[in-house]
Amino acid sequence: MAKEVGSLSLEQTQQIEQALKGYVDDVGVTTVLLVDRDGHLVTEAGVTDAIDPVSFGALISANFASTQQIAGQMGEENFDAFYIQGHERDLYLSAVQEIAILVSIFPKEVTLGMVKVFAEKVVQVLCDTYAAAAESTDDEGMSVGGGFADSALAELDKVLGG
């Protein structure tokens, strides 16, 4: 099977987690999320109690996608990043190629310039990790296994009361 873009091994997910944790610790951002372009949360670091990561991820992805449409209408190929100012916390979104979005939520004490510089470094790590994942020929564990559909459907029947 062709490996889909964005499929990560355990080692690669650990590399990403480490990069996000380092970003939180070094810069003082409150929360960092990595969301794929389809709106699914890949992973998170920092304080995440205050948000619902599933709907947040979907909203971020939709917001980012609509902003890219605006870029197109301005004659820009795309926007690499954008910033949203809040009253107590700000939001900075960075594109990780066409694969994902790095979401940084940070308090007023942390400067935007600092976030931009460090977010760019994290994005580079993420791009390298995704590139390595795409090039890897090691597909150990890259299978859902037979009988998955039947088992999942049986579970859905329980959920739907069937």
Binding site: A62, M142, G147, V159
Partner: protein, 198 residues
Amino acid sequence: MATINYGYREINCKIVYYGPGMSGKTTNLETIHQKVPASNRGKLTSLATKTDRTLFFDLLPLDLGTIKGFKTKFQLYTVPGQVYYNATRKLVLRGADGVVFVADAQNDRMEDNVESLDNLKENLQEHGIDIAQVPLVLGWNKWDLPNHATVDELNEAMNPWGVPAFEMEALSGRGVFDALRAVTQLVLEKIEQDGARP
């Protein structure tokens, strides 16, 4: 395509409810939200206008728990049905693993249904997907109303592929779970086929 994260042992699937304005897409999600146990579903998020017309999308996350070692999650989305929100529909359709097309079965809505289905085909095409290849089911909604078309007429107009189609009353829930189950089955079979070793 479903996101299969082998590192985290997690599978995320996206199912999109498509159809003309006021056909009952949001009501499908509201009914599912009401009837599914709270432990298996997340918050129903709606980006709607002041008059409750969908502006961007509705989102309902469903969690099936851990299946064969994979945390298995579904995200159900609706698109805005109104004709002039096509750019938004295209965005929501991105990455869809399956589609439930909710048609309004009333005779006087046939043209709107067909137009919306053509729009779905075009928008999928723009994402490089042939509608014949995507897991798709159809719901003939508002079946409780007296002026609905017949199943044959609806199939003739909208179902050249012979995909599963269900009489539906989204408000009462009739056909809603059947459609969800059918599209889920198609999506899961595709994942098993694509995500298994050759």
